[in-house]
């Protein structure tokens, strides 16, 4: 396995990010400790060409959708397993993904405001897509509770206290639809969770994830640049300092 090759485990992650095993410190939030303590400058005053230091938007911590520290910590750990910190760079937690998801679930994404949610509801074939009567907020809330239940069932521990491998086992069970959920399949919840994680990793930092645009740096995506007219025919690979869309608008 990838992980063993590099000899990198969740314990190492917790060590390098300054958090003791046990995940929850004084009832606090892992994402809060990691994500939000990373560089908190306000709107960038950087010169043209970008700013490696500052997150170009003012960010305030605090939850808008999740209600308990446990909900938040479960989602933090689950997203970190999906997009872990490694030698390439930060993982989901450090990138602020849990806060990103919290923000999204509190908005029209969470309530499926721009989607057709009228009944009657039937299961449908896979080719017919989303047919649940639950909105994404409800699916995440239930899914998180199920992750925790599954952890207790399999390992007699809350999800957040599991070893990385044990978390992976549970997430895989969801991915393979081996866990039952109400009104939606575990597989569907897993797909949502995976996609939301990637969105939080790579969306513009104005949404609360992709802290410091570090995910873009890892991937070599420079974010918003006004023009590539002068570069489009170049043979060389360009490493550009990323810029946020916040530099486009007011």
């Amino acid at each position: 396995m990838e992980k063993d090759k590099k000899g990198y485990s969740r314990r190492d992650f917790l060590k390098t990010s300054g958090i003791a095993t046990g995940a929850v410190i004084g009832g606090g939030l892992i994402g809060g400790l990691v994500g939000y303590n990373v560089k908190r400058e306000g709107k960038t005053t950087a010169p043209e060409g970008g700013n490696k230091e500052g997150v170009p938007v003012q960010r305030q911590g605090g939850l808008k959708f999740f209600m308990s520290a446990n909900e938040f910590n479960v989602i933090s750990q689950a997203t970190e397993r999906i997009f872990p910190k490694d030698d390439l760079g930060p993982g989901a937690i450090e990138l602020g993904v849990p806060f990103f998801i919290d923000n999204q679930l509190a908005g029209h994404y969470g309530s499926n405001a721009r989607e057709y949610m009228q009944g009657p509801f039937y299961e449908g074939a896979p080719t017919q897509g989303y047919q649940s009567s639950l909105n994404r907020g409800e699916i995440f809330r239930q899914g998180i509770a199920r992750l925790d239940e599954e952890a207790k069932k399999r390992f007699e521990k809350p999800f957040t206290e599991l070893e990385g491998k044990q978390m992976d086992e549970i997430l895989t069970a969801f991915q393979k639809d081996e866990v039952s959920m109400n009104g939606v399949t575990a597989e569907f919840f897993f797909k949502l969770l995976r996609m939301a994680t990637l969105e939080g990793v790579y969306a513009d930092p104005i949404y609360g994830g992709n802290t410091n645009m570090d995910a873009w740096r890892m991937k070599g995506f420079p974010g918003h640049h006004a023009s590539y007219l002068q570069d489009i025919e170049k043979d060389t690979y360009l490493e550009l300092e990323p810029k946020s869309v916040s530099e486009m608008g007011p």
Binding site: M1, E2, K3, R81, I82, F83, P84, D86, L88, G91, H108, N112, A113, R114, E115, Y116, M117, Q118, P120, Y122, G124, A125, P126, T127, Q128, G129, Y130, Q131, D168, R194, L198, E199, V201, Y202, A203, D204, I206, Y207, A215, W216, K219, G220, F221, P222, G223, H224, H225, A226, S227, Y228, L229, D231, I232, E233, K234, Y237, L238, V245, M248, G249
Partner: protein, 570 residues
């Protein structure tokens, strides 16, 4: 009671590409036009914070609000049709400009062969090349008849291209602007397909290679290759869109009045004429009737068919008897392709919606089908439209889709991955059609349109053949790892494929076998026109809007003639 408004000469339902073209031509000719658009007003000044993948490419900010209206879908008649609750397979437009705001801008002309596909196929391969379940049909118009209108549309949008495709129909004039820049990535494709003996050309692009003033006096700017193009509006006014071309042209005449937040729900009729359109103001929920001498449906393929169905105009297609025409010949497209991973990093984040190169060597009847178990083909392209990080996570098939291995592979793959793909033609089949859903309704109480669609054996065979060609090209390009696409099975409405829906209100020269005549004039009401790719009786191996634009210009000419002399145009 619906409030009656003052009568106008022409009312259009929808202000996208087709509504914009009809409005501009009619308004220039002095006709008073009312444009009904269910969405909002918008233009270049609204696209100034547009470089945001999440908001525009994933949350579909510029597109249709499905909470108000969607369609239902099933693969076949035995299945229960269920609502398309989220967008996926295709992305519907809404608001000024329609899908023309956030299109890529690849603007092709269908092949001369397409317009006479039945005649040509029978002539060359006999009557039984495809089984009688395939409802192949000539369009009632030839490429040569349509050529002047292709020319007009291309000049209106300032199309950037090069006349290097040996398989294309004859052009009366060269492209209005030169092709876009040929990037190192495109050169890799060009070299590979040239080595294989094929004939590459730059994709005709409505992202303009240079500044351009169109014949109506509209100014378009030069594309900056910003990489946020398809699914986005252009902040530079460099992508030809209805709201940067035909709509301002129409407004300048003083003869176009656009009513926003106006959702059409019914076409009013009296005997064999239509009298106007009923719409609901989506902000106040008040009902209005807009009387007009001519009604033009320009509300995209799906709603054009739906409005005719709910207004009970024309005979519904019945797949059991083959009778009726409304809803018939719904077609789509197939997307065979091969992904390749290269050694060196490339600037995949730069690009433009229609920046690419194509070959037509395997499109239409440009190659011999005598020993093949399908007809038609696909354009095969490599495009560089700007790969954005949320939706671009290329990994080899043996890599897990999450976790550390995924992270590493997708980050490594991102700048090293290219994709060669075909846009495969789609042939009409008796079991693929549109009807009205008996259960589900939109926010205004009107039934949803129902889609019954699946890929057919023709699609599966064509997909395999074109897929193999894309794999050969990718190998020739020198990819270290070549990942061929998997064969198609059932049509799935979830993953994005293309917004190239066609059919349902097909055109032709025989009322028994078409909904509209070759001027897109309805057979049953001569003051009603239905303009959309719904008039295509099959779908070709290209994007549709070039051909649609040409048909819309020809239709506008017909409407102007009709408004002077009345009667059938054919």
């Amino acid at each position: 009671m619906a409030k009656q408004l003052d009568k106008v000469d022409v009312v259009t339902v929808g202000m996208g590409w087709t509504g914009g073209i009809i409005a501009a031509e009619c308004a220039k000719a002095g006709l008073k036009v009312k444009g009904l658009e269910r969405g909002r007003d918008r233009g270049t000044s609204d696209y100034q914070v547009i470089h945001d993948e999440l908001r525009y490419a994933i949350r579909y900010e510029l597109m249709q609000d499905l909470s108000k209206e969607t369609i239902t879908f099933r693969n076949d008649r035995k299945m229960r049709a269920l609502p398309m609750r989220q967008m996926g397979s295709f992305l519907l437009g809404e608001g000024l400009g329609g899908a023309g705001t956030h299109w890529n801008g690849m603007t092709y002309r269908f092949l001369p062969y397409d317009f006479q596909i039945k005649t040509e196929t029978e002539k060359k391969y006999g009557k039984n090349k495809l089984s009688s379940d395939y409802l192949l049909k000539d369009w009632g118009i030839t490429y040569d008849e349509l050529e002047p209108y292709f020319d007009t549309f291309e000049k209106t949008i300032g199309l950037s291209g090069e006349d290097k495709n040996p398989f294309a129909g004859k052009r009366s004039s060269d492209y209005p602007t030169p092709p876009m820049k040929k990037t190192p990535i495109l050169k890799m494709f060009e070299k590979a397909v040239s080595n294989l003996g094929y004939h590459p050309f730059m994709v005709p692009s409505a992202n303009l290679s240079e500044t351009y003033k169109n014949p109506d006096g509209e100014q378009l700017n030069a594309c900056q290759y910003c990489g946020f193009c398809e699914r986005f509006g252009c902040e530079y006014g460099a992508k030809s869109s209805p709201e940067t071309t035909v709509i301002p042209t129409a407004l300048k005449t003083g003869n176009l009045d656009i009513q926003f937040h106006a959702n059409a729900v019914e076409i009013m009729k009296n005997g064999n004429k239509v009298t106007g359109v009923k719409y609901i103001d989506t902000q106040t929920r008040e009902e209005f009737i807009q009387p007009a001498d001519v009604v033009v449906l320009t509300s995209y393929v799906l709603n054009n068919a739906k409005l005719l169905m709910v207004s009970d105009i024309g005979e519904m297609y019945d797949p059991d008897t083959g009778k009726g025409t409304l809803g018939k010949n719904y077609c789509y497209q197939i997307e065979p392709g091969t992904s390749g991973f290269f050694k060196d990093k490339m600037n995949v984040f730069m690009g433009a919606g229609a920046l690419g190169m194509t070959i037509d060597d395997f499109n239409g009847d440009n190659f011999d089908h005598a020993d093949l178990d399908f007809i038609h083909g696909a354009s095969i392209s490599l495009t560089q439209s700007g790969n954005r990080p949320i939706l671009t996570n290329p990994i080899a098939p043996d890599v897990p889709v999450w976790g550390e291995a995924f992270k590493k592979a997708s980050i490594e793959g991102y700048p090293r991955n290219l994709f060669v793909f075909g846009q495969g033609a789609s042939m009409p089949h008796k079991e693929n059609f549109m009807s009205l859903d008996p259960v589900y309704k939109d926010a205004y109480g009107v039934p949803l349109l129902q889609l019954t669609y699946n890929f057919t054996q023709q699609d599966i065979n064509l997909h395999q053949y074109i897929g193999d060609r894309t794999e050969e090209i990718m190998k020739e390009m020198g990819a270290e790892t070549v990942v061929a696409g998997s064969p198609i099975t059932d049509y799935d409405i979830v993953p994005y494929q293309s917004t190239h829906n066609t059919g349902g209100t097909i055109m032709g020269d025989d009322p028994a076998d078409s909904v509209v005549n070759p001027y897109l004039q309805h057979w049953d009401a001569d003051n009603l026109f239905a303009v959309s790719a719904g008039s295509f009786s099959h779908n070709s191996g290209y994007n549709p809007t070039g051909t649609l634009g040409a048909l819309a210009y020809r239709c506008a000419e017909g409407i102007i003639k009709y408004s002077k002399q009345g009667g059938s145009l054919v």
